[in-house]
């Protein structure tokens, strides 16, 4: 089963974990066959929000939620069950600075 581990960090903690450590973590996951994809994100002020309402495109800057922690990256993993996924998420280095949201992937229904 696939889980998306979303990494949330406060703005000033974006570089609290060295990139080297995150790369090593991703490599470790990949070698164990757990990792499907992982990326880090640019800071929140580079974000653009896109909506389509009544066929009309609207583009605004930044995020819409006033939260302290922002999405800083993600790991898409393969795990047996939630307990397994929690164990993997606990090994993601930013877990000790921010938080990791573990979300099960929903298979789209073609019908």
């Amino acid at each position: 089963m696939k889980y998306l581990c979303l990494v949330y960090l406060e703005e000033q903690k974006l570089h609290a974990v060295p990139d080297r450590e995150c790369m090593a973590c991703g490599d470790g996951f990949r070698k164990s066959g757990l990792l499907i994809a992982a990326e880090a994100l640019q800071p929140i002020d580079t974000a653009t929000t896109v909506r389509v309402r009544n066929g009309k495109l609207s583009v605004t800057d930044g995020p819409f939620a006033e939260t302290k922690e922002h999405l800083a990256g993600f790991y898409l993993i393969e795990a047996r069950d939630l307990n397994d996924a929690i164990q993997v998420a606990a090994k993601i280095p930013p877990a000790r600075e921010g938080s990791i949201e573990v979300r099960p992937i929903r298979e789209l229904n073609p019908q």
Binding site: M1, D81, L82, N83, D84, V102, P104, R106
Partner: protein, 425 residues
């Protein structure tokens, strides 16, 4: 068929004693809570039809599991034919095991533990954990749980539906946690059980009878947990609940007013519960925790066990004055190290007041309040008021009683504080 029919009575008795065990095993075999519940009901319906005709089977529980599983798979196959899905048939076959194994005591008891740990999984909210545990492990109806928690039944039903959906969709596994995680996960289970107990024990509103049942249910559940997993902290919590519950009859007057520990008629305390509680405390204190040795080094005795030891000292004392307050203060010191919190500090301050006099206690309470830790905690102000009253500081006592009253919503406690306030002159 009448209620006096012996076979009908047997079915009822088996339902009462074994339906939760059968459910726990069916969840494992079918991998789904809702399917298992349906199968459980189908199995008992079949028992009502077949047992009067064919006789009661030698092992009713194994019969029920086997029948429930068969009916569920049959239903899945029938639906699969409608939906033309091939994989459902495969899914139904995964659990083909020797029927004798279903009756095997060990695997059945493991299923009960699996069910408890799944219902108390930390990925669900505490509210959901409590509701699901009472529904699935204890077999209370949604209406009973709603009534006990003063929650509208539809809200509670929704909470349970969402929790089951989370177990399914996030794939929370049906398992007893691995040894490395067991200590932490057991803490979560104990927290749920103590929460249920306190809902019933602090019966402040709603139907008293129903809420008392919650305490009894928590004790029953804790007994089961101790039988399955005799960890020191689990034994400690059982002891704590028995010792607290032993004072039930003395805690309130016939008119429902609060009676403080000092003023309780100790002849009303349940001596059998006290004897069992004390025996369990001693057992918990003498056992070496098997779980996660490294983690338990710094907290050798868990907070429930220490609180149970404190409750045992109260239970053994013939009166408030003759209580071993020095020992109680010492235990609060241990507790404050194991599980530091301002509430424990407050309790320690009250014990110090009993040992060294109200002035010593007041100094400690004021120190806590000065740190602004318990400013909104009604019992901190009530304790301060009581200490001031005993020291003859009437104005201070009045201010603190009024502050406590402003923070208290429970009617019996309000009446108690109002009485104390009126007695100040």
């Amino acid at each position: 068929m009448t209620a006096t029919d012996p076979v009908h009575e047997t079915v009822n008795a088996v339902y009462f004693s074994d339906s939760r065990r059968v459910l726990a095993t069916l969840i494992r075999l079918l991998g789904d809570f809702d399917a298992a519940e349906e199968a459980l009901h189908d199995a008992f319906r079949a028992a009502l039809e077949q047992w009067p005709r064919d006789g009661v089977p030698a092992n009713p529980r194994a019969w029920l599991v086997s029948t429930g599983r068969f009916k569920a798979i049959d239903g899945m196959r029938r639906r699969a034919r409608f939906d033309a899905l091939d994989d459902v048939g495969d899914k139904a076959d995964i659990a083909v095991v020797d029927p004798a194994a279903w009756a095997d005591e060990e695997s059945v008891e493991d299923d009960r533990l699996r069910l408890i740990f799944t219902c108390c999984h930390p990925a669900m909210s505490p509210d959901a954990q409590v509701a699901l545990t009472l529904r699935e492990v204890c077999g209370l109806t949604t209406e009973e749980i709603a009534q006990a928690f003063l929650t509208p039944a539809p809200t509670l039903a929704q909470r349970i539906v969402r929790a089951k959906a989370k177990i399914r969709d996030a794939r929370i596994p049906y398992e007893v946690p691995a040894r490395a995680e067991l200590a932490e996960r057991l803490d979560a289970v104990l927290r749920v059980i103590y929460l249920v107990f306190n809902e019933g024990y602090a019966a402040s509103s709603g139907s008293l009878l129903t809420r008392h049942d919650l305490s009894a249910e928590a004790i029953r559940l804790e007994r089961l947990l101790v039988a399955l997993l005799p960890e020191p902290e689990a034994i400690g919590l059982l002891a704590l609940m028995l010792l607290q519950d032993s004072r039930r009859a003395a805690r309130t007057s016939p008119s429902g007013d609060v009676i403080l520990l000092d003023d309780q008629d100790r002849s009303l305390w349940d001596r059998n519960q006290i004897a069992e509680g004390i025996k369990l405390v001693e057992q918990a204190l003498s056992l070496r925790p098997a779980l996660s040795e490294r983690k338990r080094v710094e907290r050798r005795f868990g907070p429930y066990t220490i609180q149970a030891a404190i409750a045992a000292l109260h239970a053994e004392a013939p009166s408030a004055a003759a209580t071993d307050w020095a020992e109680i203060v010492g235990l609060y010191d241990v507790l404050a190290r194991a599980d530091p919190s301002p509430v424990i500090e407050l309790n320690r301050a009250v014990a110090v007041a009993m040992r060294d006099g109200p002035a010593a206690g007041l100094a400690l309470v004021d120190a806590i309040l000065e740190r602004e830790d318990l400013l909104d905690y009604r019992l901190a102000h009530a304790a301060r008021a009581d200490l001031c009253r005993r020291l003859g500081k009437t104005a201070d006592a009045r201010a603190s009683y009024e502050r406590a009253l402003a923070l208290t919503r429970q009617a019996p406690e309000r009446r108690f504080l109002e009485r104390r306030l009126a007695e100040l002159t």
